[in-house]
């Protein structure tokens, strides 16, 4: 019996359904009309953004919050190129998204047709893999592979470019049960011998530090991490991407390390005799001057991506594998050895006491205070951030206890990421309070999405730490460019309360400390999209700070 044929567009929708996709963030256009026509009847929620960049960030936020693959959709040419920043953001932070783009009909490809852009070429360096559909009958196989590649191994974005004529071509649809990729077989199980060697180093270390990142969260290894840390009584420092992987109020927590990390995390790294690095990539914002990083330590590096091992630092024991899997095995060989690290933990406790993360506690409304109040009023919130000072304060002063509760553009550092990502987070986690800790600069990069959150009733809260500056750049200008504030002043650029109201969202403002809690509570209670305009001290600095090019123990306190 001949199978009934369906259009390529229908095959796309069927493939998405097979992958369990329940929501798409997108924006229509000429070369995706057949797809949007199929979406009209489909059982998949589509959220119409106001700029394609936001669709990519929303898919990314959705993926980070839920662990599922996020999906965004745009038309050819400018629609596709508008996704690029979002795809690059996801690539740098290993976030599984599938981006779908329309393309001009096959016969026109290469002719500089209207709204044609070579998006597979453009995204080559910022996708884990990408596809141009050459034949409609390849659609099911390509979708199966794309979702598999996006979510397995080291996750990452995959783009599928779909020419318009393949969307209308009839095909026999059969979704493949498995993928067969000769060149893609991620290693999940760590080498047993290497794990034994690592265990032996760990048991002999007197000053161990666990340095952990996003890999712990992606592989769902928080429990195993806690087991290891408590088992060997080793302190844990997390990267920005690793916030939430280890409870920040745990006695063994050192908080974040690196440029704006805690003094005690950086000191611990520099004095350590063994660093166990898990799901991290020794980024320059973490290591500072690389030749001076952890000079006394042996390094065990556990990562699912072999290319990360030995890329930036020499490693004594490399272990390629999935963090959860490797840690489970490692725990078999590591027994409690409290006495060995007792002196070390005492030393760290003294540092913690001497150099706490703090700020000036006076009557002025300071941004750190706002973040602390958010942490108090909404301890279970998912915090999303923009990029810059707001991001660092959000990392420093909120008490993270669970994975997937801190969502931020770490690698690419994309201003404008937070608000649309928060939208995706809220769609994926509708029961959670979702707060975008924003700066007045970053927020304005994607503030058009207020229309989207109002239209689709996605009640995210944007907490703007409004200092009328591009604060982080201003901070650098203050410190290294003789306070010449070149093009960083945004004073009186917009009334955020009126902006919120113009879109039909709730707008509230706080100018003094006493108002902060009230407006946070009011926003949460309203269950509406809300903008909170916190008019904070203008020239507050993120402190402490390791100057660029310095070793991470050369850390300064800034007033």
């Amino acid at each position: 019996m001949a199978k009934t044929k369906i259009s390529g567009a229908k095959a796309v929708i069927e493939s998405l359904a097979q992958e369990g996709v329940d929501v798409i963030f997108g924006y229509p256009g000429g070369q995706v009309l057949p797809l949007y026509d199929e979406l009209y009847d489909a059982d998949i929620r589509h959220i119409l953004v106001r700029h394609e960049q936001a669709a990519a960030h929303a898919a990314d936020g959705y993926a980070r919050a839920t662990g599922k693959v996020g999906v965004c959709l745009a038309t050819s040419g400018p629609g596709a190129t508008n996704l690029v920043t979002g795809i690059a953001t996801a690539y740098m932070d290993s976030v599984p998204i599938v981006a779908l783009t329309g393309q001009v009909p096959r016969s026109l490809i290469g002719n500089d047709a209207f709204q044609e852009a070579n998006i597979t070429g453009i995204t080559l360096p910022i996708t884990k893999h990408n596809y141009l559909v050459q034949d409609a009958k390849d659609i099911p196989g390509i979708f199966k592979e794309a979702f598999y590649i996006a979510r397995t191994g080291r996750p990452g974005p995959v783009l599928i470019d779909i020419p318009k004529d393949t969307q209308v071509e009839p095909i026999e649809f059969e979704y493949p049960q498995e993928v067969k990729l000769r060149g893609y077989k991620p290693t999940y199980v760590g080498n047993e011998q290497q794990i034994k060697k690592a265990a032996s180093l760990i048991l002999h270390a007197e000053k161990p530090v666990l340095y952990v990142g996003g890999g712990i969260i992606f592989s769902d290894a928080c429990e195993e991490l806690l087991g290891l840390a408590e088992g060997i009584m080793a302190p844990v420092t997390t990267t920005l991407m690793g916030m939430g992987a280890f409870p920040s109020n745990h006695p063994l927590s050192l908080g974040m390390l690196g440029m704006h990390g805690t003094r005690y995390a950086n000191y611990a790294i520099q004095e350590s005799d063994l660093i166990v690095a898990i799901g991290v990539r020794f980024d320059d914002r973490v290591t500072g001057k690389i030749s001076a990083f952890a000079p006394n330590a042996k390094i065990i590096h556990i990562d699912i991506d072999p290319a990360e091992i030995g890329k930036n630092v020499r490693v004594d024991i490399p272990i390629v594998g999935d963090a959860k899997n490797v840690l489970k095995n490692l725990l078999k060989y590591v027994k409690q050895e409290q006495s060995r690290t007792e002196a070390w933990n005492k030393k760290i406790a003294a540092w913690k006491k001497e150099y706490p993360l703090t700020y000036k506690k006076d009557n002025f409304l300071r941004p750190q205070f706002v973040v602390e109040q958010i942490s108090e009023v909404c301890p279970d919130a998912i915090i999303v951030t923009e990029v810059g000072q707001n991001q660092m304060w959000a990392a420093q002063f909120f008490n993270y206890r669970n994975p997937r509760t801190f969502i931020s553009s770490g690698g690419l550092g994309t201003m404008g990421y937070g608000f649309p990502a928060a939208m995706g987070v809220k769609v994926g986690k509708p029961e959670s309070t979702v707060i975008d800790v924003a700066g007045d600069g970053s927020f304005q990069m994607n503030s058009q999405e207020l229309a989207t959150v109002v239209q689709n009733d996605i009640p995210v809260i944007v907490a703007i730490l409004n200092n009328g500056f591009l604060g982080m750049v201003r901070q650098w200008q203050e410190l290294f460019f003789n306070r010449r504030y070149s093009q960083t002043c945004l004073t009186d650029s917009v009334d955020f309360v009126k902006l919120a109201e113009a879109y039909g969202a709730l707008g509230l403002r706080a100018t003094k400390k006493g108002d902060v809690k009230d407006i946070i509570k009011e926003a949460v209670k309203s269950e509406r999209p809300a903008i909170l305009d916190f008019v904070v001290e203008r020239e507050e600095n993120v402190s402490p700070m390791v100057p660029a090019g310095a070793a991470i123990n050369e850390i300064l306190d800034l007033e």
């Binding site: 080559l124 893999h129 060149g183 072999p306 290319a307 030995g310």
Partner: protein, 167 residues
């Protein structure tokens, strides 16, 4: 230091761009690159000569392996592999020099594959140094045009570069 890599890839459009793009964006230098289909029509084999130290080579291999369309990457150390390159060299000749050119070609066990009134085309196969030496000697007669394939290489003995990646 120059190293030779055998890279098995899916025989699909766009794969060369992925490989070449990787080299340029990661700042690796390609000295030469030769591509052709293997005994399996689904698979192409690239021979890439790359310059860099052990650390660079390790990164090149790891980054290549990350590409989904790359099936296998093997390092072929010079002493354990047969290395060959082919060049076509068009040399200007006249009645007085033709014989001398033919003599050099003979010594090198090269071939003349086209004879014109004012030129001959020489085909030479060998390792890089042989082709360089040939070029050097022919230069005095005037090289009008030259094309080289880039190096291809294969392990000596029974050792083979497998098409199927082991799990």
């Amino acid at each position: 230091m120059k190293r030779t890599l055998a890279v098995l890839v899916e025989n699909k459009p766009g794969v060369l761009a992925r490989v070449a793009g990787l080299f340029s964006r990661r700042g690796f230098n390609i000295e030469s690159l030769a591509v052709g289909v293997t005994e399996n029509p689904d698979t192409s084999r690239m021979t890439i000569v790359v310059s860099g130290d052990d650390h660079v080579l390790e990164q090149v291999m790891k980054q290549l392996n990350k590409l989904i369309d790359v099936i296998r990457v093997s390092d072929l150390p010079a002493e354990e592999a047969v290395n060959r390159e082919l060049a076509l060299i068009k040399v200007g000749v006249d009645s007085t020099t033709r014989a001398e050119v033919m003599q050099i070609v003979d010594v090198f066990r090269a071939k003349i594959v086209d004879v014109g009134i004012k030129s001959v085309v020489v085909e030479v196969t060998g390792d890089e140094s042989k082709i360089n030496a040939m070029e050097q000697l022919l230069r005095q007669f005037g090289i009008k045009e030259m094309v080289r394939t880039g190096k291809i290489a294969m392990n000596r003995g029974a050792k083979v570069v497998q098409t199927e990646k082991k799990a």
